[in-house]
Assembly symmetry: C2
Homo-oligomer: 368 residues x 2
């Protein structure tokens, strides 16, 4: 498909968020790309249908029976597999927390034109499939292979460039991570919107690495230069900065907003008295969370941490609060085993990636 | 919970949509309340997890084993049922198309502050449960009963009023409609966000009637005056108009946007040549769709209609188009057996309810 004769040169405008307004096309993206509901952070596993979705183009509706995964390019022993053959390989089930790299974009000013996430683009599912590494070894990458690229069936335009969604990992990254080819989610076949019939799961990385509707794995002897690898998902200080790749998730925590909401504003209403705040915390690259603090009435307090349910799954935390009448702003922040701590203010990035600033929850506590 | 001592008086502002901007709280609602993906209109049944969600407050997480449905108020033979008892009653499975009353709100100017739906708040699922009418008869409503009210477990504030979500129907409405108490959706137990463990389904009505997290059915000898019955879900010409209740769905149609999208704008790109456009059409109250027309290059053409899969399920339509290079705006409009036709321009309503104006899809067709 020709790229030069079309008007899809994209929208690269910056949006001044001082006035807090959003464009029609941002709301169009928000209507399509759905977030978690923060109250379900009380659960270890995000309910099916509430795991966040970030869908670049249209969901391809693929015939699972006819679907083939091809290993091609600079492999000495290229092959193809059907879904039944993948299910006959050794199977593993892992709980994995995935977060969208754009989560928190709405908190960064000026804001890049893209999906206007607040806090909700994170979820934990149980993924079932087969480890990728033995399949790569079976295909025998040539000695000069530098990248393994993964291509989905979803096709569209971004900034005027027509392409299938594609991402790459190095052989070292594949060996270090528990990368999986998965066909099931929470004990059920993958739903169309989550990549049916086959997707990649790259635990510990932001979600863009976990390519959906996976059809082709290609060994490359040059660094992968696909749009989604080199044109986006990069940290950039300015529009002219070539940038650094977005990879593993930054340490982050969220709380279940306490009390009950107002419909239109989502502000919280609470009776005075003791409250147990609960939430989840996670980091990337398999690094555990070691500490969560909650700011209550201006004082940072230690939260209790529960045991992680898996190396790549979020950690539940809780913290007691004696809610007193008036307006309150609650915050939480996590620290990981590398010593990384969530910042209180959003880290600057041109495209609004990886905003892991501490969540703020506005609460009104009534008179007793 | 006292209502008078809190700041939850809501946001009743009108938004001038000439400049196409949305507020932070509207985007907050759009991040929570997710729509269908229009490409899945190709399927008879909306994939699980893509059925639209409009959640007024927080999702209550209910223990299905302990849940009881109570019949109370002006019944001569009130009783309670557990979920197992409901599952032991005669079971029916029906495909039902539900649309949010606020679908299309973003197309109305000035726009009410609420969930800024574009086109996506519609879906069709297969619901399994038991008919409601025999249970109402078993509870024996007194002769002076005028309304049957249905209460969910979800609690919160709207315009300063704290309340559980509640709606009512008359005995005649319950008898006329295939109203069901459902525990399963698409062959699986209800998901938390869809009303688990038990919800009402009122086929043919906008979605607000299908009360989720249903816990109590109350017979009333006075008209139900709950917030969601009398303060909202009413058609009003002005802020001082007492209004008329929103009930059955208006005739409407949507198409799968052809071609492939641009990420940021969702504009469509197509190669020139023959294209088969497909979509769905529906109306309310069990009235079938009799006609769908598609505007192609300024001419309204008849679409082919397929057989409905159920009295309350949408109808698939298709129409052939020879796409020629250039920019196009495609539209579709349906007519139902009552002779109601979709308008080309949005019908005015203060709260932006029931906008059934013909969908517009912007398409760019490349040179061959």
């Amino acid at each position: 498909m020709a790229n030069t004769d079309n008007p899809f040169l994209g929208y690269s405008g910056r949006i001044d968020t001082k006035d807090g307004v959003y464009s029609q096309s941002e709301v169009g993206l928000a209507n399509r790309n759905s977030g978690n509901l923060l109250e379900t952070l009380a659960l270890d596993i995000t309910p099916t249908g509430l795991h966040y979705l970030l869908i670049h183009f249209d969901v391809p509706l693929i015939d699972a029976g006819a679907h083939r995964l091809g290993f091609s390019g600079a492999f000495d022993a290229p092959f193809e597999l059907g879904l039944d053959e993948i299910k006959a390989l050794p199977q593993v089930t892992l709980p994995v927390t995935l977060e969208c790299a754009g989560n928190g974009r709405s908190g960064i000013s000026p804001r890049a034109h893209s999906m206007p996430w607040l806090y909700e683009a994170v979820g934990t599912s149980e993924w079932t499939g087969t480890p990728l590494r033995p399949l790569i070894e079976r295909a025998r990458p040539r000695a000069d292979v530098v990248d393994i690229a993964f291509f989905g069936a979803d096709y569209g335009f971004d900034k005027g460039v027509g392409h299938c969604f594609g991402r790459s990992l190095t052989l070292e990254q594949i060996a270090d991570l528990d990368v999986m080819l998965v066909h099931s989610m929470n004990g059920q076949p993958l739903l169309p919107q989550h990549g049916a019939p086959l997707r990649l799961i790259v635990p510990g990385w932001y979600g863009m690495a976990s390519v959906k509707w996976l059809g082709r794995i290609e060994a490359l002897t040059q660094p992968f230069d696909g749009f989604q690898q080199v044109q986006t998902y990069r940290f950039r200080d300015s529009d002219t900065d070539p940038g650094r790749p977005v990879t593993t998730m930054r340490v982050k925590s969220l709380m279940v907003p306490p009390g009950v909401p107002d419909w239109g504003t989502r502000k919280r209403y609470l009776e005075p008295g003791p409250v147990t705040l609960v939430g989840r915390a996670w980091s990337g690259g398999g690094v555990p969370v070691t500490r969560v603090e909650v700011e209550l009435d201006g004082v940072w307090r230690e939260a209790r941490l529960e045991q992680q349910t898996g190396r790549h799954a979020w950690t539940k935390w809780s913290c007691d609060w004696l809610a007193s009448p008036g307006d309150h702003v609650l915050r939480c922040r996590a620290t990981d085993a590398n010593g990384a701590v969530q910042p209180l203010d959003p880290p600057w990035d041109v495209a609004g990636f990886a905003n892991n600033a501490a969540q703020k929850v506005h609460v009104f506590v009534a008179e007793g």
